[in-house]
Amino acid sequence: MSELFRYLIAGIAVGSIYGLVALGFVLVFKATSVLNFAQGEFLMLAAYLAVTAAVTNSFGLAVSLLFVVLALSIVGVVMHFGVTKKLIGEPPFTLILVTIGVAIVIRGGLLMFYGPLERSSVDLLPAGGFTIGDVPVTWIDVIMFTVAVVCSAAFFAFFRWTTMGLKMRATAENLEAAKVVGIRPGQVFLMAWVIAAFVAGIAGFFYANRVAVVSLSLSAIGLRAFPAAMLGGITSVEGALIGGIIVGVVEQVGAGYLGGEWRDVFAFSIMLLVLLIRPSGLFGDKELVRV
């Protein structure tokens, strides 16, 4: 029983990161219908920048976080103006491929500036933890989970109650109609990219505290955004975190009982099931099935 409980805790912790990656992914997709394959690379870039800030320059927690988040927001701006702005309306494969190209560029850039060797992870967050029964819970996991919940709630509120959020929802709903009522889609797309990169910045910063080493294999986590986002519903901001946590829990429990090689299979089989039974996910819009 305590074994199951341990897997659950690990699943929730890992799932929080998946949820944050999926959140950025969903935001971009919802606003611009670009499937962003570079979301994992954004996170990796943020983790490396966190290493630069906290380990190399020994900045404090607040300064490092600010540095990473600002840098990533700039990446978001570059993504919009430099890459995707021209390509809105192209076939989906082209858009996917452009983000893959960006991912390759980020990867090459990191390899160039940081070299192929692993970097030691950041330790700005309190170490240690507490136990529930006989299951250890680290503070880092608690913080990760809190950050994920706060981020999701903040963006949910942003979409619900701010003018910009309303504009973004309107654009996602119907681009033409949004244009008619005077919303500038360029502004909305820019905002979506900035927010997505911003979320990746936060996720990458905290993830750099959790992993053992920061390396170029970190971007693999970006792939988990797919099942997480599909599970929550690809257009659902609040679904992303819940989807992420479900994927995290399922794969940790599955891998815990059957062995590590089952991780991918569990994470993606659950996605396949959702697709075949309820393609719109748990919280997604129904009519999107007819895309």
């Binding site: 076939p91 452009v98 190209g101 560029v105 090459g108 390899l111 697709l275 895309v291």
Partner: protein, 395 residues
Amino acid sequence: MTAQESAPTIQRRSSILSRQFDHANEVKLLQTRPQRVTRVLTLIFLLVLPFLLATDFSPPLDFPWATWFTVVNFAIIASIGAVAMNLLSGYAGQVSVAHVAFLIVGSIVGAQFGEIWGVPFWFLLPLAAFWGALIGVIVGLPALRVRGLYLFMATLAVHFIAIFIFRRYQVDQFGFSGIVYTAPTLPDWLLWIPGLDEGANGEFTIRGNWRWYWLNLGVAALCIGFAANLLRTSWGRAFIAVRENDAAAAFMGVNVTRVKLLVFSASSGLVAVSGVLASYYLGARSDESWTLEIVLDYVTMIVVGGFGSLLGGVFGAVFFYVTPVLLSWVRELPFLENIEWLQEHGHAVDQMMYGLCVVLVLLFKPSGIAGMWEDTRDAVGRFVERRKQGAADEQ
């Protein structure tokens, strides 16, 4: 957008190439004389190429001549896969990333039938096509229910499940180190052909780039020819109808279910053939060989090459294998050689430049290399037409 773009194209074609738009002409494999001339030139080039590559010619500026044979062989094998993917995604609009899954089918067919049961290599190609097509129908089943992005995601799941199955199979049957494929031999009854020098044991083994080139070229010609011919049939037109709007296609009497399953099985069969070919060419495969990057590489090939164009698949495969070699050659040119920073980060620079190439092609020419080729062709056609016009005016 589409209407605006397509209208001038039709006009340009009909005015410059003065092509008749009758049905009999439209379904021909080669419709115009320039097309036939280009094909013949391509054929001559492909037949002469290995003779050039086999020489130990050493071009100026350390151009990497010796590595080209391998690059060409990889490009030929990959072009089968790229054409198959373009058939499925570009023509029929079924966005699938289960590409590696079918390369795995080819690898497992090679391992199980060829290595364990000792079936001769020549039977493995049709066997791989058969199993690929059969499993393709099963993988195509979700396409009947979901489409677009959702199909993409469903096939992504298939990708990971296939890798898992391969790992299980490999560990069970061959151990952790991977599967080793023995080089195929030509059947004995073909040895009378003059010019085949059999080895010491009286067998003609397909080994080395020279021999593989002819095998790869033959198989690729068959596969790509199959795809090109399939597109000329009513099935081919049904693919495009389903891509554009499957409800409208159904309304016009296209059996959408059958079309989707057929295109999945045709494409998957071809991919499986390229899978078994690549496995034997490389000589070994293990669970480390399969990554999502391979699928993304093929996506790169078909989009950079030209989405929805068979020629684009071939162009893309060549681009994919040739560009890295060219980039690393450029990096070591005399005037760049001395820039220390560049040499130190050589690999990263190559990778980044490659990524930039991809992004730039898409930004400035979304129809890819096939689009550039068409532009060039049209420009030449227009030039010839103008010359003719000028000559006619003078008279």
